[in-house]
């Protein structure tokens, strides 16, 4: 057992010795240390429906709509665009517009030789670990709806997020950190609904962390009263449990009590998880970050690895937000700085996970909410394009070094092996050992699932 844990155990023991009013919290903490979580804990680890390789997910979301034909989907015909031949274009993929030539050359990567554009030279090196899907499709051409759907399977209504479903299905591996953490510098389209638990119990809601010096606010105890805190929590806990009992065991109230317990433990665990000062220079270099950095996407990726190591079930990294993102309507050149920001960090994350043996049981997913049009929108830009786009998966349970599905010759429609967003979700759940048709929650008179009444597991990409 790592010494960190032993130290913390000693700390907990000493707290127990000085605190008379906290039998509840501390006994649970100690029980957790002993590997025996409380029986009523909704986040306790649960068995999957069937054995699976992946135990956790790192979900990389590029906000705004990444152009597939400028990144991962090589379309030779588009390179011949002469400004006369037309294809789907315009802001919302509704018009016929002159085709736009991709700005970046493509080159093969890895021994599989999959073509990737010069926007992602680092990720290109990792193609042997990546399963690239060229035939993704979704149902809405607006950011808000498509972003909501990528996360919840629902285009218009708030529904539980993928991370919430996984936390519900599998529980957490670490009682001292939230099971679902979202690191996002800005609010994405559709805001906090992207990590909402909706009708699932509140424990499954994503915890939003903002990059910076103090990623989780208020995680440091106030100097004036650190050693009184357990007593205060103990008294509040006593009153809150009595209040819960008086109020019909309201689920929301029970969840609130639980948040104090998690919060208490986060004070010990979280600062350490978010502190990269003890990472080696060589590791920082791999992610392309400077010592002292607390805000770059590289930092987000390195933290994702640290959280993965600590048993967080679902870690999502969002690279931008509702503004200043990949939504290059006017000029595709804008893609360059966004790609540069994430390319080396993502490749670094994949390599780091691999050499530590974590990639075997970690599923890494990269996607955007949709692709972009083959035809122009603004003079040099592309519009929103839900009909076909590219996403990729790597790690636990997927075939590396393959390309699944095809778009048509200009990247306008699915050519072969369509993978609808619902299929994508079904496959992710499958890789974690969950049957998307059996992972249900009864609410308002019926069973709900992430994939509603749709979704088929994409067998062709399973290892």
């Amino acid at each position: 057992m790592p010494s960190r844990s032993l130290n913390r155990r000693a700390v907990l023991r000493s707290l127990a010795g000085t605190s008379l009013l906290l039998p509840g919290i501390l006994s649970q903490l100690l029980a957790a240390e002993d590997g025996t979580p409380r029986s009523e804990d909704p986040l306790k680890p649960k068995g999957p429906h069937f054995p699976a390789k992946a135990k956790r997910v790192i979900f990389l979301f590029s906000s705004g709509g990444v152009s597939h034909m400028d990144t991962f989907d090589y379309k030779p015909k588009l390179f011949q665009a002469d400004g006369k031949s037309l294809g789907i274009g315009g802001g919302l993929s509704l018009d016929r517009r002159p085709l736009l030539r991709p700005r970046w050359e493509f080159h093969p990567g890895g021994s599989c030789g999959t073509l990737v554009s010069d926007l992602f030279p680092y990720i290109r090196q990792c193609m042997d670990d990546i399963c690239l899907i060229h035939s993704m499709t979704t149902d809405n051409n607006e950011h808000f709806e498509a972003t909501l759907a990528v996360h919840t399977g629902s285009f218009f209504f708030t529904r539980p997020s993928l991370g919430a479903w996984l936390s519900y299905g599998l529980g957490t591996l670490n009682q001292n950190l939230p099971s679902f953490i979202v690191i996002a510098p800005y609010l994405p389209f559709a805001g906090a609904q992207v990590w909402a638990n909706d009708f699932l119990p509140t424990e499954y809601q994503g915890t939003h962390v903002t990059p910076g010096k103090h990623p989780i606010p208020n995680v440091t105890r106030q100097a004036s009263a650190p050693d009184l805190q357990e007593r205060e929590l103990g008294l509040a806990n006593l009153f809150n449990r009595s209040h819960l009992k008086r109020n019909g065991h309201d689920q929301e109230l029970a969840a609130r009590i639980k948040t104090f317990e998690t919060a208490f433990r986060m004070q010990f665990e979280a600062p350490e998880a978010f502190d990269i000062s003890r990472e080696k220079d060589e590791t920082l270099l791999l992610y392309g970050i400077q010592r002292g950095d607390t805000a770059s996407f590289g930092w987000q990726c390195l933290i994702a690895r640290r959280l993965a190591e600590r048993g967080v079930r679902f870690i999502e990294l969002i690279d931008s937000g509702a503004n200043n993102n990949w939504d290059s309507h006017a000029d595709m050149a804008e893609h360059a700085k966004l790609a540069k920001r994430i390319d080396q960090p993502i490749a670094g994350l994949l390599k780091d996970l691999k050499r530590r043996g974590l990639l075997d049981d970690t599923l890494v997913v990269w996607t955007s909410e949709f692709g972009r049009t083959p035809g122009i929108d603004g003079p040099k830009g592309r519009g929103h394009h839900p009909h076909v786009y590219s996403s990729w998966l790597a790690g636990g349970g997927v075939k590396g070094g393959i390309v699944y599905g095809e778009s048509d010759e200009i990247g306008a429609r699915v050519g072969r092996n369509r993978v609808h967003l619902h299929d994508f979700h079904a496959t992710i759940l499958h890789l974690l050992g969950l049957d998307h048709e059996r992972l249900t929650y009864h609410h308002a008179g019926r069973d709900f699932r992430l994939t509603d009444v749709y979704g088929e597991v994409v067998r062709g990409i399973l290892a």
Binding site: L21, G90, G91, L92, L94, D95, G153, S154, F156, F157, T158, P178, A192, Q193, N197, Q205, T207, H208, I216, P217, N218, V219, T220, R221, Q222, S224, A225, L228, R231, E232, L233, L235, A236, F239, N240, S242, H243, L244, N247, G248, D250, E252, A255, R256, T259, F260, T262, A263, Q267, N323, N324, D408, R418, H420, G445, F448, D452, V453, Y454, E456
Partner: protein, 838 residues
């Protein structure tokens, strides 16, 4: 989500029967029940029509460039007749329908759409629809590619005139107190539900006080209520609360949620708007005065055109148009490159949602996919706002405010405003000339490419480049000159509001042209300014000389408008009861939810109009009902039938909103500053230099009520963000309730909590003689009740333990009591009872 629309149309079909065409089938088909015809048409609207448009019409419609296989899928007749291969559809029988066979890709020679197979769900939808008899709506034009039938659309519940329903009968005649109760009880009895008992008096006064003023009742107020046994004791509480200035702060905040109020502009640098608070205060005061809602709406939409009985009224009405002025700004560009069409879209979006419960902005590029609103309706409204001059907030490439509206009407102020405007116009003209020069020079540079003589070309290029440099410098200087002038404080008071006069003092009003597919560069035909057709399509009188917003405001608030009153009474209901009768308060269209109690909704809407659009009359009506005064106790038998309490058999327990939580802590600790706030301490406008990379971002601490916290569009206030405050980019009709460890950490460790705990402890120690009295007072202040015996001894025991611990830590004796009490205060602040209202 399929189940949502299934639930929707099932609910709708109960009280809206649509006229539908079910085709005469080639083969006998069992007559489908009405509900399934309706369902079939709904399915067609939601799933089939979009699918046809997306996948089929490019080859199989009257608008196809080249019709394939002589098959028209855009008319009912065409579908039935079929094409070269025979009838496309056999209603009721998917397996015999060619269309289904084609999309299933089972035959080699007939696979549609040819490029890629439809998804399994799309195929399943088509099969379901054919199985239902393949019904399509009756259309005038005959083309299914067009939007849905208007006449039929007006049959949708929210577009029908407000009805007068009889007050329903109930079995238990002793239960209802007023009409609301009869509507509610009628449905409860129908569903086999039994309302729970009334709430106890302590719960009731706490509930009502938070509800109306967003603060806890004081111990004295509670005692007075408990001692008052008269039948109208609660009515007096309601009246007292409605008369409080804090009522305006609480209900004004609800309005600010809906109109997505923010103190910044939302462009890429999020420029501050120092004058925006005037509008905020206008909202708070108007609500507090119970300004009739129709007038409240009119002033926000057209206050600048309404004049006023005196300067004060005129001034107030100009400030009210801050509602329009507050529309979001985008990007970084100055005029004429600024994307006004987006700001106008934001205006129309909010106007639609706020007043009408409609998502009109969906029609910017195309007819509404679900509601009977057209692309023309959108541009008919667009004309009103294109004819309106929005104030300039400052932006990355023009960092000063401009076009503020004077609030002083003296000759001197007016002359000064005119002079200011003329000077700015001159500076802008100078800039425009330089821009034109630059453009000409750019062209000249391009032209040099055609020169054959190398030497001549080199000389010309050098000359032109030099000229461009000179122009560039001149532009920088001219921009600086303009910015410096524009940044100077105005010699008169002004509002961030709208008007109609351009820089030359002239109005630029007129109709808008359709922007094809939402592209402002591609203009289609002109559309006269008017109200949406489905709501009457009223037009401006001939010879209208201004934007016409005053007429627009009148149409919005016309008692015959079926939406405005319904939407507002539903909002009021939503805030009182935790959920609206329509669960989607800003969406009364097909994507929203139909009302759980349609007759009650119409009763309230009518009553609202009849009581001169008085919010306070509505509060009294709702709060004095027995329904409002029910206990929040759970009941297993009821919950089995109605788990989500849609039929109101109990009062919904709810968590305090972010503002109420903060205000409660300030009030309990005696540190709340109850005065109304003025402007925020923004940086001096003369020093503004915000850009995309140097975005304006600030948090200003205040002990005033939370409604006065500075709220930004781009960055949320950290506290308000953490506790689910309103979104500031889009309209918030319902607050989300999340419960997270980060909120717990805030209550455990944030300096604000520790400061309030200290103030609270000090207050208790200073004003009560002993711990027993202090514990009692603390409970009354925070929870509205005294502690029971167990709680008191737990608190006493706790204080004793902590004192012991503190003594062991050798805290000086004079600090021990305060430290112990602070600790107890923090524990109480973490109690669920503080943040939940029963």
């Amino acid at each position: 989500m399929a189940f949502d629309w299934v639930r929707n149309w099932l609910a709708i079909s109960v009280f809206a029967v649509f006229a539908t065409n079910v085709w005469p089938a080639d083969k006998p088909v069992l007559a489908a029940p009405v509900a399934s015809e309706t369902a079939g048409v709904e399915l067609f609207e939601k799933r089939i029509r979009p699918l046809f448009i997306q996948h089929c019409y490019s080859c199989h419609s009257s608008e196809a460039k080249k019709l394939r296989g002589h098959l028209l899928l855009d008319t009912g007749a065409g579908l039935r007749k079929g094409g070269d291969s025979g009838p496309a559809i056999v209603p009721g029988n998917p397996d015999e329908s060619l269309l289904i066979e084609a999309v299933r890709y089972t035959r080699k020679d007939l696979q549609m759409p040819p490029k890629a197979k439809l998804s399994a769900m799309e195929i399943a939808d088509l099969e379901t629809w054919v199985r239902m008899g393949a019904p399509v709506p009756r259309t005038d034009a005959g083309s299914l590619a067009k939007a849905m039938d208007r006449t039929r659309a007006r049959e949708f519940w929210s577009f029908r005139p407000i009805q007068k329903y009889p007050i329903p009968s109930v079995k238990d005649v002793t239960w209802p107190v007023n009409e609301i109760d009869r509507f509610v009880l009628h449905r409860l009895e129908e569903k086999g539900l039994t309302p729970v008992e009334p709430a106890d008096k302590r719960s009731l006064i706490r509930r009502a006080t938070y509800d109306l003023i967003g603060l806890p009742p004081t111990p004295e107020e509670i005692d007075t209520f408990l001692a008052d046994d008269s039948p109208d004791a609660f009515a007096r509480i309601v009246d007292r609360l409605l008369a409080s200035p804090h009522y305006g702060e609480r209900w004004g905040r609800h309005w600010l949620d809906v109109v997505r109020y923010a103190d910044t502009a939302g462009d890429n640098s999020d420029y501050p708007i120092p004058q925006m608070y005037k509008y905020r205060n206008w909202v708070l005061q108007s609500i507090a005065q119970d300004k009739p809602y129709d007038q409240f709406v009119r002033e926000q939409v057209a206050g600048d055109l309404m004049g006023g009985a005196d300067d004060r009224e005129r001034r107030e009405r100009i400030i009210a148009t801050g509602y329009l002025a507050n529309a979001r700004r985008f990007g970084s560009l100055p005029d004429p490159r600024y994307p006004w069409h987006l700001t106008i879209e934001d205006t129309i979006d909010n106007l639609g949602r706020t007043f009408l419960g409609l998502t009109i902005n969906c029609c910017r590029c195309h007819d509404h996919k679900f509601d009977p609103l057209t692309n023309e309706d959108y541009y008919a409204l667009y004309g009103f706002f294109q004819s309106t001059r929005y104030p300039w907030a400052g932006i990355e490439l023009y960092k000063a405010q401009q076009d503020l509206v004077p609030l002083e009407f003296t000759d001197r102020a007016m002359a000064s405003a005119r002079e200011h405007r003329q000077k700015l116009a001159a500076l802008a003209a100078k800039l425009a000339q330089l821009d034109a020069d630059k453009e000409a020079a750019d062209k000249a540079l391009l032209a040099t490419e055609k020169l054959v003589d190398e030497a001549q070309r080199a000389t010309r290029v050098a000359e032109t480049v030099k000229r461009l440099e000179q122009i560039g410098k001149a532009i920088s200087a001219a921009e600086k000159e303009r910015d410096n002038f524009a940044k100077k404080p105005l010699p008169y008071e002004a509002a961030y509001a709208v008007s109609e006069e351009g820089m030359d003092g002239k109005k630029r009003v007129g109709n808008a042209c359709i922007q094809i597919k939402g592209d402002p560069q591609r203009l289609g035909k002109e559309v006269p300014r008017r109200f949406p057709e489905v709501l009457g399509g009223m037009r401006l009188p001939d010879g209208t000389k201004d934007s016409g917003r005053l007429e627009l405001a009148r149409w919005l608030t016309d008692p015959a408008n079926p939406l405005t009153a319904r939407v507002m009474v539903n909002r009021i209901w939503h805030y009182h009861f935790g959920k609206g009768l329509v669960l989607t308060p800003s969406n009364f269209g097909k994507q929203g939810k139909p009302p759980t109690h349609p007759e009650l909704l119409d009763y309230l809407a009518r009553r609202f109009i009849d009581s001169a659009w008085s919010l306070k009359a509505m509060h009294r009506l709702m709060m004095l009902s027995r329904t409002y005064q029910l206990s929040s106790r759970d009941d297993a038998a009821n919950a089995r039938l109605d788990a989500t309490n849609d039929y109101l058999w109990q009062f919904r327990r709810h968590r305090l909103e972010a503002e109420c939580l903060r205000d409660t802590l300030l009030a309990a600790s005696g540190t709340l500053d109850r005065s109304m706030a003025g402007p925020h301490p923004f940086p001096d406008p003369q020093k503004w230099d915000f850009t995309e990379h140097n975005v304006f971002k600030a948090v200003y601490e205040t002990n005033r009520r939370s409604v006065y916290l500075m709220t930004q569009r781009v960055y949320r206030h950290p506290f308000l963000g953490l506790f689910d405050g309103a979104a500031t980019n889009t309209s918030t009709d319902r607050r989300i309730v999340s419960t997270t460890p980060l909120q717990a950490l805030y209550l455990m460790n944030d300096p604000f909590i520790h400061a309030q705990a200290r103030a609270f402890a000090t207050r208790l120690l200073d004003h009560r003689p002993n711990d027993a009295a202090r514990i009692r007072w603390a409970y009354l202040l925070l929870f509205g009740r005294p502690p029971n015996g167990d709680e008191e001894s737990a608190a006493q025991g706790y204080l004793a333990q902590v004192r012991q611990k503190i003594q062991a830590d050798s805290v000086p004796a004079e600090h021990q009591a305060l430290s112990a009490w602070q600790s107890l205060a923090r524990a109480l602040f973490m109690c669920s009872e503080l943040v939940y209202v029963n």
